[in-house]
Symmetry: C2
């Protein structure tokens, strides 16, 4: 009769399991815990499940919604949510709904790869933004996805799908391709091996083509990505290097695609993006950023 797939009800707000983060020490519990009918196994796990109930499309949830999303009994959710709210990780509005609290954001802003990076990059992003008056983005890699750390958008610029704190697969965006091109080989292979989801007719989905594209990015130090997420927009991206000279982030400018009305010829943007990326790299202490750039032919 009913499809008794899982004990837990359909998970409306759930999120796909995280892509395996490589390089794990023995942190995986490996205890082969029980079939996990409920949400998390440990208290901490349940708390995480509760936090995961929130996303960009669900910034305010009632207690029951949280309980449902986290597959927890209401009374359990109530207790945990109460504690979260008591500390400030969640806030309860006058409407009774819970939202992510300022306190949690406050702690999160201590993450070196987010606000720390952003702070150093900001002046250069500003300049880049002034030069184009379009969209400027800063992203880092987490696992097999790119996470947008900063975004400056002119109200009248091309509408973007990305959001601060949002994630996108690496193969479809300018910054993503850059991050992928300079990622550890293991990550590259894993991404190339998995099916490449398509967003528009122009998205690269062929691993061979992507591999060639990545090689080109490594050679040029720039990625130009036209209409892969949204046919109307084009992005020019460049890598940002850190102290150890590894690529720690990527920046991009997103403008209307040249095939669209009001489109811009990407070649004109390359020098500015490259210069900004180099500036940030220098600010981060990247050794090679001080050397003179080989002329662009």
């Amino acid at each position: 009769m009913t499809d008794a797939v899982e004990a837990g009800p359909s998970r409306p707000v759930g999120r796909p399991p995280r892509p395996g983060l490589p390089g794990g020490s023995g942190l995986t519990s490996s205890k082969a815990r029980r079939a996990a009918p409920g949400g998390g196994e440990t208290v901490t796990g349940r708390v995480f499940t509760i936090l995961e109930a929130f996303d960009h499309d669900h910034t305010a949830l009632t207690l029951t919604e949280i309980a449902r999303a986290a597959s927890l009994p209401v009374s359990t959710a109530h207790r945990l949510v109460g504690e979260l709210a008591g500390w400030g990780a969640l806030e309860r509005g006058t409407d009774g709904a819970y939202r992510i609290g300022l306190r949690l954001w406050e702690v999160g802003s201590l993450a070196p790869r987010s606000v720390g990076l952003r702070e150093r990059a900001m002046p250069y992003l500003e300049d880049l933004y002034e030069a184009t008056r379009q969209n400027v983005q800063l992203a880092v890699r987490d696992g097999h996805e790119g996470v947008y750390v900063e975004r400056l958008a002119h109200p009248e610029a091309v509408r973007l799908l990305s959001r601060i704190g949002g994630r996108w697969p690496l193969h479809g965006t300018g910054v993503g391709q850059v991050l992928l091109a300079f990622a550890p080989p293991a990550v590259q292979e894993a991404v190339l091996a998995a099916p490449l989801t398509s967003f528009t007719a122009r998205t690269v989905t062929d691993p061979t083509v992507l591999r060639r594209t990545l090689a080109g990015i490594r050679r040029d130090g720039v990625a130009v990505c036209d209409g892969m997420i949204d046919l109307a927009s084009l992005s020019v991206a460049a890598p940002v290097r850190g102290e150890s000279d590894g690529v720690v982030a990527a920046i991009s400018v997103v403008v209307p695609s040249p095939s669209s009305p009001g489109g811009i010829e990407p070649r004109t943007l390359v020098p500015a993006v490259r210069a900004a990326a180099r500036g940030i790299s220098r600010a981060l202490g990247a050794p090679t950023a001080h050397r003179t750039q080989r002329p662009v032919r």
Copy 2:
């Protein structure tokens, strides 16, 4: 988006002191409470204590440092930290030290009062920044403190002590005074009743003076705060209103104090700051922001 989130009572670290104490059958009296040697009482509490070990001056901590800061046995800290790192709330560097993880920042960026607010305010802050090329700040109130949500700083501008995600008492900063002036009476009274810490010779420490200052801010819709945190800098701040017309945030421009070399006459900044605040209020849906402003005398 709504601004229905009301700032909870200032609850810096505390937790409800064990709601229990159900009368009637006295449960095990010996329960009283262990001398509370550990950090928190509940697992969740301990996790919070661990997160609290991190701050702007300690963004990277080793396991033992965390354990010490959270007053937890190393083995307990090890287990909890392991789980936190497994989820992504913490990240472990190659040096073995733990840092706040990108995942935590990601969730934190869903807080309506931080990134949500920031996104809508950004264009106006940009303009304000362009106009002055100094420092522009955006802050909200949390309890009895102001939390800086955004800060645009020119590398050559006056050095500020504030940081994104940082907290400052309300009475000493421009944005703080604005937030306090429009805070619920209970909050105002509480702040006025408590001793007002002094940062420079110019900090207001007399409740009577502060009360008068707040009244002036409510009247003018602007605060001018000269040298109260740092003798060399002056800030001009204005309130930002939300949907329900309540003050939800404050913005400010910080420039060199007129008494310092290169100082700027604050009066010239007032219109720009007021206009930006009004623009943000309108973007947030504040009803009164659409009315014409009464001319500035």
